[in-house]
Symmetry: C2
């Protein structure tokens, strides 16, 4: 496959293609035209062709895309053909909600353990995933070859924990704390800032009301 620099905007859209193609594949459809994919995904056909052209040669004029091939190739680009071992740091509601998502595993993200400071939680399990105390964190990351840490601690504790995780060898942090982590350049951070998402919704409510009601 061609190796080209893919724009951030395209990368943002790839998981959605992956999801739709997976569903289409499950429904038994082997080939799909850009116009049919367009009507399902509510994206213009030209946008689809342009996005998928980034990876070269997936589609053939008048013949459509090979769904299985395209799904697999996008999966490889997204790194879903490899297993990624993960821990959840923070055993509260959000951490437990993440541990309960079975879909992550199907996509190659295997949650090996949950970590918390609350001794009441020690040894308990969520969907078979054990909750450990922090004293085991360093050895666990090493022994279980953990690559990703999902950080579901409150804002005030997140920064310090991120530092510790980095010291113990974590290279990728999935950050749910409402703070921008300061980590070395070679550590990847993906933020899920729920407040910001909610603010975008209220921005749109406000704009809608201004345009239609006032």
């Amino acid at each position: 496959m061609e190796e080209r620099e893919i724009s951030k905007a395209v990368v943002r859209r790839l998981p959605r293609y992956y999801r739709y193609l997976g569903e289409i594949l499950e429904s038994g459809i082997e080939r799909i035209s850009s116009s049919e994919l367009s009507s399902r995904m509510k994206v213009t056909a030209s946008q689809i062709r342009q996005d998928l052209n980034n990876f070269g040669g997936f589609g053939q004029q008048g013949y459509g895309y090979n769904v299985k091939y395209l799904h697999e190739e996008i999966g490889k680009i997204l790194g879903l053909d490899k297993q990624h071992n993960m821990i959840i740091v923070g055993g509260g509601n959000l951490g437990q909600a993440l541990a309960n998502y079975v879909n992550f595993e199907r996509e190659g993200f295997v949650i090996k353990g949950i970590f918390d400071v609350n001794p009441v939680l020690k040894g308990l399990s969520v969907r078979g995933i054990e909750i450990h105390m922090l004293e085991d964190l360093q050895s666990f990351i090493r022994d279980e070859e953990i690559q990703i840490a999902a950080l579901t601690l409150p804002k005030t504790k997140a920064e310090e924990m991120a530092k510790l995780l980095v010291r113990y060898g974590i290279k990728a942090i999935w950050n749910f704390a409402h703070v921008d982590l300061h980590v070395p350049e070679d550590v990847l951070v993906e933020n899920v800032h729920l407040s910001e998402s909610l603010m975008r919704l209220s921005y749109n409510i406000t704009r809608y009301e201004r345009e239609h009601l006032g």
Copy 2:
């Protein structure tokens, strides 16, 4: 204030400005230059000036931004000067995690109730927020003037529930189910697709490994 169409990219960035300005305000700083804001936010000063110019006249050359004024104005643009009443549909871990976020309330999002189908949860409370059964949904939305529904149901149940919520008058859905909801055009949807966020992280891991480890 000037009314201009603000680009989606700027809107995406506004909540982050709002957060930083709030923190700066709390630390007692009254004025800040674009270059200082730039070094805190790790965004170029020219990007900051360009973004904030969208709203006209916040900054003065050589004098900096008035932090309180800017924070308030961005708050108004985001609709945070008004109260938004919200319910959570789905009383599982994720729904309970959302109910436990006190920050939402500080920003004007008041969670009035949680809804679930599981009778075991009936009458229980999370942080004083009661869990109700679905039979009360319609009257609750009307009586409590609910504007936003956070939807934390599994994918298979989300679409049907969205239809019901719309029928009962909900105009904004904060969707955590891993599916694109089909709702009328005047209903706003903000998606939090956790799987897609995790895939972007694994994309970056994969790209990093290819570039650095050969």
